[in-house]
């Protein structure tokens, strides 16, 4: 038996198919979830994928956060369900207050698309255990609203508790405070990041490396060994 990992499709989601593929490449079973359904089809984990849910109207992720599927995701995430938010998914997780802080437009006001070097800062979460702490990886980054902001107290707390999961290296592509690319909740089951690991799981495409695959093998191992 393998793990079943749900991928939510909102109106405006772009990377649901790529995310399903990445889950399959890692050896798990992807399960398509629909934004209007409260039912999570008894999946073992959920990925909120990239895109522009509801056109990014109001704020990126602000309307998706109130969709029926998110009622269930929020409840179950608080009860320990592993949830990964990629890009727009990260924005939805901050809007839902499952992760602290917020996401705003890139400081240079332009869309950015590049292969981004990151450092794995926390390899103890449900989604990062197949990395080594301190490991440097290359993951494609593509976003408009990638600037992570939080008040000083929240930043200090994240740093002190080791909850910065990924940090931008060499350059800060969007003005994120403390070069933060991704964070985790205190329990380590909810992780969000701006770069797109699902685009880096096969050598043929993207960066030519498979640096994103450990996200999906990490969660698979956790669920299968559970």
């Amino acid at each position: 038996m393998t793990a079943r990992i749900g991928v939510v499709t909102f109106p405006g989601s772009l990377d649901d198919r790529d995310t399903q593929r990445a889950i399959r490449v890692a050896g798990a079973e992807p399960v398509s979830l629909w934004h209007k359904d409260k039912d999570l089809k008894q999946v073992d984990a959920v990925v909120l994928c990239g895109g522009f849910s509801y056109g990014d109207y109001l704020r990126a992720g602000a309307i998706a956060r109130f969709s029926p599927v998110m009622d269930t995701v929020i409840d179950q995430a608080k009860a320990g369900l592993p949830v990964l938010g990629i890009c727009n998914g990260f924005q939805i997780l901050t809007e839902a207050h499952l992760l602290p802080g917020g996401m705003l437009g890139n400081d240079h006001l332009h869309f950015i698309c590049r292969d981004q070097k990151l450092r794995v800062e926390n390899a103890d979460t449900s989604w990062t255990s197949d990395y080594a702490a301190g490991q440097e990886i290359h993951i494609p980054l593509k976003n408009m609203d990638g600037r992570y902001v939080a008040d000083r107290r929240t930043l200090d707390e994240l740093e002190a508790e080791g909850r910065v999961a990924f940090r931008y290296l060499d350059m800060n592509p969007n003005g994120s405070l403390n070069d933060i690319a991704g964070i985790t909740n205190a329990a380590g089951n909810v992780v969000g990041l701006m770069p797109h690991p699902e685009h880096a799981v096969e050598p043929l495409i993207g960066t030519g490396r498979t640096d994103g695959l450990p996200f999906f093998t990490s969660i698979l191992k956790k669920l299968v060994n559970a």
Partner: protein, 90 residues
């Protein structure tokens, strides 16, 4: 029918690159003496029925939970009568 206006602004300590871009364009357009611009959002809500305390309390909740993200934004709620709106247009 009354109009309630919700203004949403980024918290003062948060960088507003859009406002800065606007501010930097001003001297080029011949507007001198404006040292800072911050850009926000304005929501105009047309309310059916009276805007009493209960209605305002509900709009406050709406602004706090949805129209603004209070992690990064502040908001104000104010009632505008039709007269005031018409006056502002002139």
């Amino acid at each position: 029918m009354a109009r309630v206006v919700v203004d949403v602004m980024l918290k003062p300590e948060i960088l507003d690159p859009q406002g800065q871009a606007v501010q930097r364009a001003l001297p080029r357009l011949g507007f001198e003496g404006i040292s800072d611009v911050r850009q926000g959002k304005r929501f105009e809500l047309e309310v059916d029925g009276p805007v009493d305390d209960a209605a305002l309390a509900r709009i406050h909740d709406l602004a706090e939970s949805f129209l603004a993200n209070t992690v990064i934004e502040d908001f104000t709620v104010k009632v505008e009568s039709d007269d005031v709106v018409a006056g502002a247009v002139k």
